[in-house]
Subunit: 156 residues, 2 copies
Amino acid sequence: MTESILPTLLTPRELRAWRGMLRVHQTLVRALDAELEREHGLSLTSYEVLLFLGDSEGGRLRMHDLATQVLLSRSGLTRLADRLERDRLIERQACDSDARGSFAVITGEGRGKLAAARATHLDGVRRHFLSHLSRQEQDMLGDTWERILPGSAQSS
Amino acid sequence: MTESILPTLLTPRELRAWRGMLRVHQTLVRALDAELEREHGLSLTSYEVLLFLGDSEGGRLRMHDLATQVLLSRSGLTRLADRLERDRLIERQACDSDARGSFAVITGEGRGKLAAARATHLDGVRRHFLSHLSRQEQDMLGDTWERILPGSAQSS
DNA sequence: CTCGACTTATTGTACGCGCAACGACCGGCG
DNA sequence: CGCCGGTCGTTGCGCGTACAATAAGTCGAG
């Protein structure tokens, strides 16, 4: 009676590819976040905000665009920006071409923090991730990501 | 004066491999979570709890072990288990060999939910992820994950 | 047998995030 | 010009999670 639809499961090969990514991602993100927090009192998302701002021309970005790039909801970014502003790592700036909008601008202090944190972060990415990959594998991974989600290449 | 240490940045190839994973992971997890939530009112973490329980012998697991497998803190799992128990998808069971411990046990209703959700979830994983990968690539990915984080292969 | 260091699960608390709603503002069309 | 659908950033609210502290229990050394 209750013989429900049994979905055909994944093959071991598929499982390895899929769950491996989940594990690796979660583990690495946790580790990188912890390192950043410990050495610079910065969360990974805060770091990414500074990163994108620092690499933008003028060191500023519209809130909406910034939210998109760091994969945060607009409300989430509003709150995060509040904290970063409180810590004087960014400032807000009105947008004169559109009175609704505002820019987030990285401060000098923010740039200093970014440079320091970047060293830690990049070191972590290399230790935990890149060091295990040959150049060919890196290329292949990049191709794979691009195929799965077109436009997955971006700034540092 | 303020000539700080400029960390040497990542190469484009490294960037593609690294940030690609971040984007793909976040996007896919969001999508899968939304599908599960919409079609079965189940979060991805809840699903994973049911999954691991359903695939364990006796349909039960110690809270501590379960927390480890779903990558949740023990307190996080306690709360999640509360919710799942409220929805009658799992039950708690005392452990007679160790009076401190308790088991989480999947219920019949939980198994039904799992079977249904599993169809949705596996379909999603195939559509969003596996369909873009050849068998060779799946193998290569699996190898890569295993090298980065030994022991990244597990149940469905 | 008893003590003490460790483990297990739970609880208090705080935080980060998303969703929905809001006010302010934009731009195009009648 | 005036309106109206859409957008931008912010806010109220609720949820899910981690960290620290706690109570109960385990196990081995003396």
